[in-house]
């Protein structure tokens, strides 16, 4: 009984682990597969025989060169950076201020305010983009950089509010009172006491907001024009029309970018909680 029991148990454990490994592969493998294929010398999306033999001739930087030399991709990158940085600055400033207010126990109507401020994150982006198309066209903001900056800032603020609120959750209100009793004004209290504590949350929020803007394509499709083509917009047409391995080169670049962002945010979180 015990022998067969432990035998079953073991078989159960092994199959459980195998299952988990399979799920991890499902999560990671599709992303990793892109990386080697982006160095393919041939214009295909599968591993050539040469690649499998690890023949150095089968690999090249050809597609990276294609992208780097392409005027459209370069313009897309510039647009993405302009829109992303401006939207992030706006979202981070407004979001941090709001989080400070929300964290105060005196804040009236907190749940309602929180629902309002989080709403851009939970509304399907197709709906936000459709609404923005109607409204921004009326305001003359469609097909302008400003329109997209405002749209992306709106979509990014919930992340800032959430991350900063999270760092403030453990904040001891006595610290600000102590600073005030020692004669510091509100601005000085903020700069010397609160800011250092919430800094990891602010930076994480800013990174989230930037990543949101840098990966956003639906509002760009709806309210952006030819002059506002961003990197994701360019990828979108690439995928829809014809995938060239150049897309895989851009994708590899974006994967590297995502990994860096992720590691920084994890670092910051650990610092904030530890």
């Amino acid at each position: 009984m015990t022998v067969s029991g432990s035998g079953w148990e073991r078989a159960g454990r092994v199959s459980y682990l195998a299952f988990c490994i399979a799920v991890f592969l499902f999560l990671i493998a599709p992303i990793l597969v892109i990386v080697p294929l982006s160095f393919n010398v041939e214009p295909y999306f599968t591993f050539t025989e040469g690649m499998l033999r690890l023949d150095p001739e089968a690999y090249s930087l050809r597609w990276y060169r294609t992208v780097a030399e392409d005027e459209e991709w370069r313009r897309a990158l510039v647009n993405s950076l302009i829109i992303g940085i401006a939207a992030t600055a706006l979202a981070t400033t407004l979001g941090t201020l709001a989080a400070l207010g929300l964290a105060s126990p005196a804040m009236p109507g907190r749940p309602l305010a929180m629902s309002l401020l989080i709403s851009p994150m939970v509304t399907p982006v197709i709906i936000s983009a459709a609404g923005m198309f109607f409204f921004y066209s009326k305001m003359g903001l469609a097909q302008t950089h400003l329109g997209l900056i405002l749209a992306h800032a709106a979509l990014g603020t919930p992340f800032v509010v959430i991350t900063v609120t999270a760092t403030l959750a453990g904040f001891d209100a006595n610290l600000t009172r102590a600073a005030a009793s020692l004669g510091a004004g509100p601005v000085r209290t903020f700069a010397r006491v609160q800011l250092p504590i919430i800094a990891p949350g602010v930076v994480s929020g800013a990174l989230f907001a930037f990543a949101t803007s840098f990966d956003e394509v639906v509002t760009v499709l709806f309210i952006g024009g030819l002059d506002q083509r961003t990197v994701p917009r360019q990828m979108w047409s690439g995928i829809r029309e014809e995938i060239s391995p150049a897309i895989l080169a851009v994708a590899t670049f974006l994967i590297a970018f995502a990994l860096i962002f992720m590691l920084v945010v994890e670092r910051l979180r650990r610092r904030a909680s530890g």
């Binding site: 207010g101 401020l117 409204f135």
Partner: protein
């Protein structure tokens, strides 16, 4: 005392105010515009005001009076000159198909007519449809400033001849089946995410801290990776000339001419969306599991419960808040998903969002797009309120 109480309140509110104003202006106002669009369309009413005023006194059955014909031809010719007629004709056409060409052609001809005995005869001789009451009823209906027709259309309803609201015949229903499909697919994806994500969360929650951190990072990689990148990878993997098919052929599992179509159909949508949404299930479930003291399970075991028994009776019930949070989040995210189905869904893998995009960008039926968007928004708000009850918006965390 009251003043002292009010001051911190004011300060807190003042800090929240700028962002609230910003969100109201850049995000809520657009949503309100969309909701308005779904019921309000003054285009036809503004272009043919006098015709519509005259039709107000018409019995709705007979051929309208000469005055109606005279006014209508005058307003149509004028609208043609200022180029608004096309938009009017398109709207009337959506009420009664075929009328677009009738209106455009008539205005083109009438433009050249200067003197005529009877506008009624002139118009009927150009297009006999003008002699039929249903043409004028269509203009009347398209001329409603505030209208429910976009919602009727979005729910596959129509008005029959005597004006009561009925379902479209089954073969003409488009949106209800699509809405049903969207809900079914979202539910399927939620269940898949739970089946794949729960064991994974368990593994991470019960691993030694160092390894747990590493495994958590593996879950976060797809969370951070660009959606377009992930969609591209699925195309690369699953297309007929893709990595998976090539491998299967190379292994001799399938013949070269029988490559499996796994993408540009519903399979593609489900696989790619499960991949995209899995982290949203794993993270909340994991964070609940981490708070369950291991003592409970050992207590159950020491009382003689087998692992499956202890799991079912002791562990699983405690993880329900995480399961609820994760499932609701995945479900909410999937019913509004657009990008993945648009890129890898082909014909059969489209969801309600893709139809909204289609009406926004291709058919340019903005009223219908707005109605569909409002219905979807209603679903999401309802689920969101449920989420708030179950989990609490305050507890929404990232990663």
């Amino acid at each position: 005392m009251a003043g002292a109480l009010r001051k911190p309140q004011l300060r807190a509110a003042a800090l929240v105010l700028p962002l609230s104003a910003f969100i109201l202006a850049t995000f809520v106002a657009p949503l309100v515009t969309m909701l308005t669009r779904s019921v309000y369309d003054p285009m036809v009413a503004d272009t043919l005001p006098e015709t519509l005023a005259l039709l107000h006194d018409w019995d709705g059955q007979s051929t309208p009076s000469e005055a109606v014909f005279e006014t209508a031809s005058r307003e149509m010719v004028r609208a043609r000159e200022d180029r608004s007629l096309g938009r009017v004709a398109t709207r009337v056409n959506r009420v009664e198909s075929g009328l677009r060409s009738v209106i455009m052609k008539s205005a083109r001809r009438l433009h050249r007519v200067k003197e005529v005995d009877s506008w009624r005869e002139a118009m009927i001789s150009i297009e006999p449809e003008w002699g039929e009451a249903k043409t004028w009823r269509a203009i009347q209906r398209a001329g409603e400033r505030i209208t429910t027709r976009h919602y009727l259309h979005a729910l596959d309803l129509q008005r029959d001849a005597d004006g009561s609201i009925v379902l479209q015949p089954p073969q003409r229903r488009v949106y209800l089946p699509l809405l049903k499909r969207t809900l079914a697919v979202s539910l399927g994806i939620t269940v898949l995410c739970l089946l794949l994500g729960y064991p994974l969360a368990y593994l991470i929650a019960h691993a030694p801290p160092r390894r747990a951190n590493l495994l958590l990072l593996l879950v976060l990689v797809p969370f951070w990776t660009s959606l377009l990148v992930r969609t591209t990878s699925w195309i690369v993997l699953l297309q007929t000339e893709g990595v998976v098919n090539d491998t299967l052929v190379a292994l001799g599992l399938i013949a070269d001419e029988n490559r499996i179509s796994m993408i540009y159909n519903m399979t593609g949508t489900v696989v790619a969306m499960t991949h995209v949404l899995l982290p949203f299930m794993v993270l909340p479930v994991y964070s609940v599991m981490r708070t369950i003291p291991p003592l409970y399970m050992s207590a159950a075991a020491s009382l003689g419960a087998s692992f499956p028994q202890a799991f079912r009776r002791v562990y699983w019930p405690q993880t329900l808040p995480g399961v609820g949070a994760g499932s609701l989040l995945v479900f909410i995210l999937s019913i509004g998903y657009y990008i993945t189905p648009a890129l890898v869904g082909g014909q059969s893998g489209q969801l309600i969002s893709n139809m909204i995009a289609y009406h926004m960008q291709q058919s340019l039926n903005w009223g219908l797009a707005a109605a569909l968007g409002s219905i979807l928004l209603g679903c999401v708000v309802a689920l969101y309120l449920l989420y708030d009850r179950v989990v609490g918006i305050d507890r929404m965390r990232l990663g």
